[in-house]
């Protein structure tokens, strides 16, 4: 979140505020970037957030498996967010907690707390493309969106569930990403994401993520009730639903350290 310190981007945001995006004459790359900056900018200022996450994993045969996670996150100026997640289900990992300091550039700092051993383990964060808890969501799909993580290209405008959408292609900067590109549909009105198509390292269609049941919090922060990820190559899917969203609950830096990780439960 280097927006305010980067003079170029500040200028860009100033321009965006003054002029509708579509009116700026620019290359598809510049326009893709401008849309993403505006989307990020429109959601700034949420400060902190708490929510309950439920995942339903489905295999090709329709067998289901459930994950329940409580999460807290903290907006950090000039960097990626901090987050603390605690697992409630499945039962054998109950109490396992995960602390992450994400960074716009470079590796994230991540720690895992294993309640049976009372052990805090610093873990390598290079594993961005790996599945989260056996689901169809990769770790990188769940980390906070930062401008610096991608390069961009505007493709076209298209009708979508949220009215008219910008269709923007995003190319991950990180060589450890599991994707060559993501194609993202964001609506003109509120920059809400409605759909993302993921392409694997061989540029074959891999997954599609759709967003459902948007609600507006504190007059500007749009959050979905449900995100559905379908893997086209394996036939598996994961529904990620959120409830009990709370914003500006007064969390600070002090709520995100190894001590809070150990008693997160």
């Amino acid at each position: 979140m280097n927006l305010l310190t980067n003079p170029f981007k500040s200028l860009l945001i100033a321009t965006l505020v003054a002029t509708p995006v579509a009116a700026i004459a620019e290359t598809p790359e510049e326009k893709g970037m401008a849309i993403s900056v505006a989307a990020k900018q429109s959601d700034l200022g949420w400060q902190d957030m708490q929510a309950q996450m439920n995942m339903v994993l489905r295999n090709k045969q329709g067998q289901e498996s459930v994950r329940e996670i409580r999460m807290k996150s903290l907006e950090i100026e000039d960097d990626g967010d901090k987050s603390l997640s605690v697992f409630d289900k499945p039962r054998d990992v109950k109490g396992t907690a995960f602390l992450s300091f994400s960074h716009a550039v470079g590796a994230d700092d991540q720690w895992l707390y294993l309640p049976a051993l009372k052990r805090v383990k610093r873990i390598a964060s290079r594993n961005k493309s790996g599945p989260f808890m056996g689901s169809e969501f990769a770790y990188e799909d769940l980390s906070s969106f930062e401008i610096e993580k991608y390069t961009y290209k505007f493709l076209r405008d298209e009708a979508c569930e949220g009215g008219t959408c910008y269709v923007v292609e995003q190319y991950p900067v990180d060589k450890n990403s599991g994707y060559t590109r993501r194609v993202v549909w964001l609506d003109h009105n509120e920059y809400r994401v409605w759909k993302i198509d993921f392409y694997d390292r061989k540029d074959s269609p891999l997954k599609t993520l759709t967003y459902h049941g948007y609600n507006e919090y504190l007059g500007k922060h749009w959050r979905p009730d449900m995100m559905k990820m379908v893997n086209h190559q394996t036939g598996k899917s994961t529904d990620l639903s959120y409830n009990s969203y709370e914003f500006k609950t007064g969390l600070t830096d002090k709520d995100f350290n190894k001590n809070t990780l150990k008693r997160a439960r």
Binding site: N59, R91, R119, A124, S125, R126, P131, G134, N176, R263
Partner: protein
């Protein structure tokens, strides 16, 4: 022990009484597990009275949790019970946790019986010194007895400082006459001796600092009190030769470091221990490297290499004095959380080897099944590991979580 437990109970009760509920709402939750563990030994036993080739154990470990004052105060109670088919010493109960935690702005006070883990390496936990090993549960030293403590934890910009007062010492548990995975002589735990005249009532103290600096996580501590590792002394009791544990006082300085660099984890732990009879250094260090998404799958392969060293060499009372460890861990990252781990230990002084294989996965939402194999080859009678030479076994564990 009973006195300390009474003292701690009083402290916890006092804590509960002083922490007046700001709001009437108390959150309560029960969770935990029950498990059955079946061992099959592949060879006849080495010593007399160990006349069984299979063994069944049942384990229960529920956890009761209360939270009030919006999470500022909490109480956890975790009793533990194991019932063993053959070894009466292995049939035992413990209070793994009975503690009250009060959280302040940048501090926490944790009072009661608890477990604390320190360290970074995988094949030996050298710096992990607060809790006594529950030696009958398993021989890997990872099971611990609950330790009475008052622990004040301070969060500062320059790290976390933990201050410990440890009233009451826990004696190590050892396999009984009928138990396998023990030495040739029985350890008579009822005859334990102490250097300190306060015996098991000696109040130990410890202070630890830990911090994260970029890619480095480090910790250092000083511990003053009763050595958790007993000296085992040969004695004759009523015509029987037995081992009597003797617990001496020690000062120990420990240091641990992990560097997390891309796919590499570099780890080192070292201690300096000073007792009435000896002072020495010991260290364990190595790395873990992970290959992510092997063969275009979601599976990860971790490769581990560690070396353990003890300044006392072959005179060491520890079984790890010049030992090399190699391990491989496969994590499928599937919905059932399937994992496999294999580890080989090689003693460079005695030429003995051990092989440990572990595999586990979840069934349904609440069941977990593990299969472990442990194999030993140690022919030199001077090698502490030679006691396990005939105790190769395969262990099946079924756990039900609730």
């Amino acid at each position: 022990m009973a006195d300390q437990k009474a003292l701690l109970s009083a402290l916890v009760a006092a804590g509960l009484a002083t922490a007046q509920p700001l709001q009437a709402e108390t959150y309560f939750e029960i969770s935990g597990k029950v498990a059955a563990e079946l061992r099959g030994f592949t060879q006849d036993a080495q010593f007399a009275d160990q006349d069984h080739d299979s063994n069944l154990s049942l384990i229960a470990e529920p956890e009761f949790y209360w939270e009030w004052n919006d999470g500022i105060d909490s109480l956890t109670f975790t009793p533990y019970l194991r019932v063993d088919e053959n070894d009466s010493e292995r049939t035992h109960g413990d209070i793994r946790e009975l503690s009250w935690v009060h959280v302040g702005e940048d501090w926490e006070l944790r009072t009661g019986i608890r477990k604390v883990f320190w360290g970074v390496t995988e094949f030996q936990h050298l710096v992990d010194v607060i809790n006594q090993t529950d030696g009958v549960d398993d021989f890997d030293g990872e099971d611990k007895l609950g330790q009475p403590m008052i622990n004040l934890s301070l969060v500062r910009d320059w790290g976390i400082v933990d201050l410990f007062v440890l009233p009451g010492f826990r004696e190590r548990t050892f396999a009984g006459r009928e138990g396998r995975l023990r030495g040739g002589l029985i350890v008579d735990t009822d005859a334990a001796e102490y250097e300190s005249s306060a015996e098991e009532k000696h109040i130990d103290t410890a202070v630890r600092w830990s911090h994260t600096v970029g890619d480095f996580d480090l910790g250092a501590y000083w511990f003053h009190g009763t050595n958790r590792d007993p000296e085992l002394q040969v004695r004759t009791q009523g015509g029987n030769t037995v081992l009597v544990p003797r617990y001496v006082q020690m000062d120990q300085i420990g240091f641990d470091l992990q560097a997390t660099l891309d796919s590499w984890l570099w780890k080192v732990e070292t201690i300096w221990r000073d007792t009435e009879t000896e002072d020495y250094f010991a260290a364990q260090g190595g790395f873990e490297y992970t290959f992510y998404g092997i063969q275009e799958s979601a599976a990860d392969l971790g490769v581990l290499l560690e070396y353990g060293w003890d300044e006392r060499g072959e005179d060491a009372s520890a079984s790890i004095q010049n030992d090399l460890f190699f391990g491989g861990r496969i994590t499928l990252n599937d919905a059932a959380s399937t994992e496999m781990l294999a580890g080989v230990g090689y003693d460079l002084d005695y030429d003995s080897q051990s092989l440990i294989v572990e595999a586990s996965r979840r069934y349904g939402d609440n069941w977990k099944v593990s299969v472990d194999g442990r194999f030993f080859s140690a022919d030199d009678p001077a090698d502490l590991a030679s006691a396990f030479d005939k105790d190769d076994h395969i262990q099946l564990t079924v756990e039900r979580y609730f």
